[in-house]
Chain length 279, copies 2
Amino acid sequence: MIVGFIGFGEVSSTISNILSRNGIQTVTVVKGRSEKTNIRAIKSDVQIIDSYDALVKGSDVVISANSPANALNVAKKVSKLMDNGIYIDLNNVSPDTTLKMSQLFEKPQETLPKIEEKHSFFKKQEDVDMRNMFVDGAIIGKVSNDSTTILFSGQRSGDLAILNNYGLNIMIVSNKPGDVSTLKTLRSLYTKGVSAVLMEAYEASKEIGMVDQLFEILSLTEGETFEEKSKSRIRNSYKNSNRKVEEMDEALEFLDKISPKGKKNFMTKAARDKFNDVK
Amino acid sequence: MIVGFIGFGEVSSTISNILSRNGIQTVTVVKGRSEKTNIRAIKSDVQIIDSYDALVKGSDVVISANSPANALNVAKKVSKLMDNGIYIDLNNVSPDTTLKMSQLFEKPQETLPKIEEKHSFFKKQEDVDMRNMFVDGAIIGKVSNDSTTILFSGQRSGDLAILNNYGLNIMIVSNKPGDVSTLKTLRSLYTKGVSAVLMEAYEASKEIGMVDQLFEILSLTEGETFEEKSKSRIRNSYKNSNRKVEEMDEALEFLDKISPKGKKNFMTKAARDKFNDVK
């Protein structure tokens, strides 16, 4: 199996390193990318090639992990080039954008190549609906952690379970593209809301010189690792507040769509305002 | 040592049962109280007496655990009757109210009785400043749990560490009355904020039929007990939303006092609105 990466940031390089360590060939293109990305790729076992065209046509699985802003454009280009295999989007995009990407890959059954595999890895079975090659994925937890879980949804996501044999920790959520993106957004309502709450409690305790005491008292019920984990969350929230504002904006858009009329999403709105306030 | 309880609800009866199981005499007054309280007292080993006057004068430690609304009035009455011992307020009141109560017990040194102890439990030491008998306490975690930690602050709180020998789990925070109340308020910024965030994430996931998936995905990073604990928090938040609104109002008052001018406490305000919205 050959896995091609579009974008070779932290997410791609971590996954690529795990896969190549476990015997899978990985490829990427770094032409025109930052020096940092180039160095990262050189230090990896990834094969550096010159053309995205070759990457898409030569890979069994193409993974897009670049930036939310580029996700849709990359999907557009790849969907035109790709006639087989699986396209995974790992970018942190909204359920809406995910569905747009998925639609790009909805090709009529008859245009698909007649069974001959480029590589024998994914044995086609009669009952597999091959129409949509799009799979949306989400990494749960820290990406640098080897035991991190990756969720997949989409018609061909089941095929990706095989990656569990190659060092990854895959969970198949459903065969409906967009489910993982939705789940990730729901999750962020909790995780980012808690980060914003933590910031506010931390700021208040700092104001009166009781930061240590606050963490000590919370650790009594929240567990021994609470202080360390929370402080890392708080630091991260201040550092990435710009990105978090954008993510909360997307979450609010999603909530507006699914909420009954008149429902106010107080906490998510406040978390957005909180991150915006410390920008 | 004799410990007298003013109010014999869940908090008092739990502590009373632990103490009497460990050899300490406890007393209370249930005259005029609800049938439920009367039955609870009868089923306990607590000694039921007829007069608050006798309770205050006959106890080494008086614990007030009735309701936030009554806390200040009870403290007023007891401060007039009490001339020795320790008065503990365990009610869920604001740092401001706590300081008001503490002031009631600020008596000039010379009016204190001349050393003869009613009971020999608390040996007076020369260097102990006896002026203020007031101690504020807070129970961290579920009150029904034997291993629950009780925090104390106040000039005589150090004397209460002895209760660790009688089945309780005491932590002395400082000798400054109000510190525990402040810490409890800071803690509630986190715990109640998280409850409100949980409610919102839960409501959104319910809207699209993904409640189970949300908890499953969150449990991956938040731990195995997350689902159970969170669901209990959510249930509790809906059930006690009235009380939570009052508590958040007090927390906001506190934040207004300590925050720099112009600082908006987004999350705490939103939590208040959230609890208010589901009342």
